[in-house]
Amino acid sequence: MDKTYRVLAVDDSAFTLMIISTYLESSEFEVVESVRNGSDAVRRFKEVAPDLVLLDLVMPGMSGEETLREILSQAPHARIVMVSSLGTEDAIKTCLEAGATSFLQKPFAKEDLVDFLRRIVREEA
């Protein structure tokens, strides 16, 4: 499978990062970098210039929302998908208003993740 889209995955949970990488393994999405906090995400975003960011919402230190705003202040067209179990209306609305591309609620199956990302890149194509 050609790896067409480069993904930066951000989550304080090593387990979730492992799951995301495994789920995307045989798809056109490739996790080129995994980081476990917001400040590393902001730094690595500049260096890696990924096509998509998968960003956890609830993290120690810099929250997902703060990370989202920081990345978008530097790259307003960045495609950032929030990934969280906290699918409250407030959380979803805040992230989308702040400029997130979409919101994926955990837990998800492999097919959910791949289909979700495919829809995003198709819509934005």
């Binding site: 387990f15 609830v58 179990s85 906290l86 609620q105």
Partner: protein
């Protein structure tokens, strides 16, 4: 007299009467033969249960899996029936014992529900208990059974090996402030992590703790999403894993809800900021 040898023999025979989940899934038309065959093919290369793979592939919903597992339990031959067939128990004694068991079970379920209803935040408790059980089922293909609800408890009760207890906790704040957590002994924590990682775990390392934290985080996040639909505004902090004895709430009054599984028990623990559990008489 039923001795250990007889009981082991009966348990062995009972295992043989369990209908495979794939057969039940075809019988109920939840899955077709091709899907079951495809899952069995996958199982040759990975250590996952049929229900787990079917849920992952979105061929089965969690509720359907729960229903299939319950049917599987209900349709296996009861241990008592096997003991009657083996000549170690009379039919009359079995009937009496089964009636008594059903009566006690039903009374126990009603007592637990009544006890839960006493809590000022019973809707929050019910939501966390239900979703903890659902996520456990999703992760291990086993539905845990609610066995007890206790108020004004300590995190570590007398007789427990406090150095073997891990407490995975998450602070929740907003309309109600409380701590939600899961209390595992070493065996239970390793069993959960082994299921979620699909590989046997033998020691509590950072990855095992991380798996437990993520499990807790998923339950809490999904609960808060559900409760927000009923108007409750709650925010979670990231989960943390403690040796239970070191947790700041180790000496506080808490609500403990025990869930029983084939591999042992674990507890859901709630500590309310204004200690709601303190208002409830045990």
């Amino acid at each position: 007299m039923i001795d250990r040898e007889i009981l082991e023999e009966a348990l062995h025979r009972q295992q043989e009467t369990i209908i495979p989940l794939g057969v039940l899934a075809i019988e109920t038309s939840y899955l077709n033969r091709e899907q079951v065959a495809a899952i069995e093919e996958t199982q040759r290369s990975i250590d996952k249960m049929l229900g787990e793979i079917a849920v992952e592939r979105r061929w089965l919903g969690i509720d359907q899996l729960q229903q299939l597992l319950q049917t599987q339990q209900e349709r296996r031959t009861l241990l008592g029936e096997l003991l009657v067939r083996m000549g170690h128990l009379s039919k009359e004694d079995l009937d009496r014992a089964v009636d008594e068991y059903k009566r006690l079970e039903s009374r126990h379920a009603k007592e637990l529900e009544a006890k839960l209803s006493l809590h000022p935040a019973c809707e929050i408790l019910r939501c966390f208990i239900e979703l903890t059980a659902k996520h456990y089922l999703r992760s291990t293909c086993e539905s845990p059974k609610l066995v007890s609800v206790a108020y004004n408890e300590r995190l570590i009760t007398e007789g427990e090996d406090d150095l073997a207890l891990q407490f995975v906790s998450q602070e929740i704040s907003g309309d109600v402030d409380f701590t939600y957590g899961l209390l595992f002994n070493t065996t239970m924590l390793l069993a959960l992590a082994s299921s979620m990682l699909h590989s046997p775990q033998t020691e509590i390392d950072d990855l095992v703790k991380d798996v437990a934290a993520e499990f807790t985080n998923m339950v809490a996040g999904n609960c808060l999403a559900r409760l927000s639909k009923h108007g409750l505004r709650l925010r979670p902090q990231p989960p943390k894993v403690f040796l239970a004895v070191d947790h700041p709430c180790a000496q506080a009054g808490c609500t403990r809800v025990e869930l029983f599984t084939r591999r042992g028990s674990f507890n859901i623990v709630f500590v309310f900021a204004d200690d709601g559990s303190g208002e409830v008489s045990s």
